[in-house]
């Protein structure tokens, strides 16, 4: 049981906790000893993130070795020998015929794949987060952060409607438009409908129903096949709908906002960079000192896992604002310089 607390707490800290495990952890944490243990693990985990081996990496020697390598004379090329013309004409012809078949077959396969793709998806824009979280800014200025493995397909973008399909998990910041509701097809005839709000959505393709956690505004989660089988969720609430198992749940959600220890997501919405560094400092236990010439009046938008390291957070800032730089003046103080010129 002791080991289970360690694993569940670690999964929570790294955003890998399933909803079942979340309940299990909540149940185990009712015992005061377990709760204390879990808090201690979280504390140590957060502090351990600052670990950065400070060694003498002998940069100058590495630099010298580098220059030695790039200036080394190139090896004398081995003289090429003209091949003896022993290949017969018949062999050459056979080879040529094979190539025709291969090219023809490949072209046919390509066309078939294209036709199938067109049949299934038409020309609908699609984005998939293959290896990392992907950000998409849709035509109506809705912002979407797709979790790793998630796919978003824009089904309709018209004067009267906005409709997308989601497979996997994503955080949405939907631009407000009372004339055009934003509808997300979560699979298995479950839909989420909003006018303008931010929330996290999970599709129901894995068989556990569509799930929504709302940060602000409200979201209606409903089944297109069962009238009246719906729930409306408001800020701070999360809910799930599973018509197959006749389950509709609604509860308070604690994981949709902000940069807090142990939360499964980190969401920044138009966060001024200056404030961002304050929050990162508090969260990661370091002090950010802003250079007096730094110009940091710019917004930062990002959705990341709760287990994100400080390096990754800083990398995310650098990816948007490459002119912002930072240097460690000592292990716990980081000086920030530069300005907010965005990457083009």
């Amino acid at each position: 049981m002791d080991s289970r607390i360690y694993i569940l707490t670690h999964k929570r800290l790294t955003g890998q906790l399933s909803s079942i495990e979340n309940s299990e952890l909540a149940r185990l944490s009712l015992i005061p000893e377990n709760k204390t243990l879990s808090e201690e693990i979280a504390y140590l985990w957060n502090i351990s993130n600052n670990y950065f081996p400070t060694k003498d990496w002998n940069k100058d020697a590495a630099k010298d070795a580098f220059y030695e390598k790039i200036r080394a004379p190139k090896a004398t090329p081995i003289p090429t020998v003209e091949p003896t013309p022993v290949v017969t004409q018949a062999v050459t012809q056979t080879s040529s015929i094979n190539w025709k078949y291969i090219v023809g077959a490949a072209a046919g396969l390509l066309f078939l794949s294209w036709a199938i793709y067109q049949f299934v998806f038409g020309n609908k824009p699609q984005i998939t987060a293959k290896e990392k979280i992907e950000y998409a800014n849709l035509a109506d200025d809705t912002k979407v952060w797709l979790d790793q493995g998630a796919t978003l397909t824009v089904i309709e973008e018209s004067k009267s409607s906005r409709k997308v399909a989601l497979e996997g998990e994503a955080f949405f910041d939907v631009s407000h438009d009372p004339e055009r509701p934003f509808i997300i097809d979560l699979g298995n005839d479950i839909y989420a409908r909003v006018l303008g709000t931010s929330f996290k959505a999970k599709s129901s393709h894995e068989g556990d129903g569509g799930k929504i956690s709302v940060r602000d505004g409200s979201v209606r989660l409903y089944s297109s096949k069962r009238e009246g089988f719906d729930i409306t969720l408001r800020a701070g609430e999360e809910g799930a709908l599973n018509p197959q198992e006749d389950i509709a749940t609604k509860s308070y959600s604690s994981n949709v906002n902000g940069l807090m220890s142990g939360k499964q997501e980190i969401v920044f919405k138009d966060e001024p960079i200056e404030d961002l560094f304050d929050k990162l400092g508090l969260h990661y236990g370091v002090q950010f000192v802003l250079d007096e010439d730094a110009q940091l009046e710019c917004p930062f938008n990002r959705y990341m896992h709760g287990g994100t390291s400080l390096d990754e957070m800083l990398d995310a800032v650098a990816a948007v604002y490459p002119n912002i730089t930072w240097t460690n003046s000592d292990r716990s103080t980081i000086v920030v310089e530069g300005n907010c010129k965005e990457v083009e």
Partner: protein, 183 residues
């Protein structure tokens, strides 16, 4: 005083065969990248070699290289990937002796009821350095590279259960050693 170049300008120097680019890259990123790789592979010489190879590759591709994001995350990702490839290539999956005692050098006076944050951090770093090799490797992949259980299992060709056991073991050692230190 050294001239300040931004990422774009360094890349431009690189594209133009200007060796100042390499000087700047070494000065700005070498130590940082070595530390990043070391946190994954825990081998001083190998970490330096991995980072040096990254700079060599940059130089080889200098005329065609096109980096669309900031250099720091770009190089960091390259360093981590190479570190992980190094582990795979060398098949460095240490077999820890489950009963091996963790030998951690304590440098703090006894009887101290609490620790300053700096001291606590130092202690935690000592414990991390002293974890059994396999445990340290898996803990580092999770803590510093935010890799999921599945990703770690795939990278090291081990089961998710093994990853769970090693993470749990690392956290237990960390907690018990830091607690001992605090009493």
């Amino acid at each position: 005083m050294k001239e300040k170049f931004n990422d774009e300008e360094i890349l431009e120097l690189l594209n133009n065969n200007d060796e100042r680019a390499i000087e700047l890259l070494f000065d700005r990123f070498f130590d940082y990248l070595c530390a990043v790789v070391y946190r994954v592979i825990h081998d001083y010489e190998a970490a330096r070699d991995v980072v040096q190879d990254i700079f060599l590759d940059l130089w080889k591709k200098r005329e065609s290289i096109n980096v669309s994001i900031a250099l720091r995350p770009y190089l960091r990702r390259a360093a981590v990937n190479r570190g992980l490839n190094y582990i795979k290539r060398k098949r460095i999956i240490p077999n820890d002796d489950e009963d091996a005692a963790v030998d951690i050098v304590s440098q703090v006076p006894s009887g101290q009821a609490y620790m300053e944050k700096d001291e606590l951090e130092t202690r935690i770093y000592q414990v991390i350095e002293s974890l059994p090799p396999k445990c340290k490797l898996i803990f580092g992949m999770s803590r510093f590279e935010s890799m999921s259980y599945q990703e770690i299992a795939n990278a090291l060709d081990i089961s998710i259960k093994t990853v769970e056991n090693q993470i749990s073991k690392a956290l237990k050692i960390l907690r018990s050693e830091v607690q001992l230190f605090m009493v």
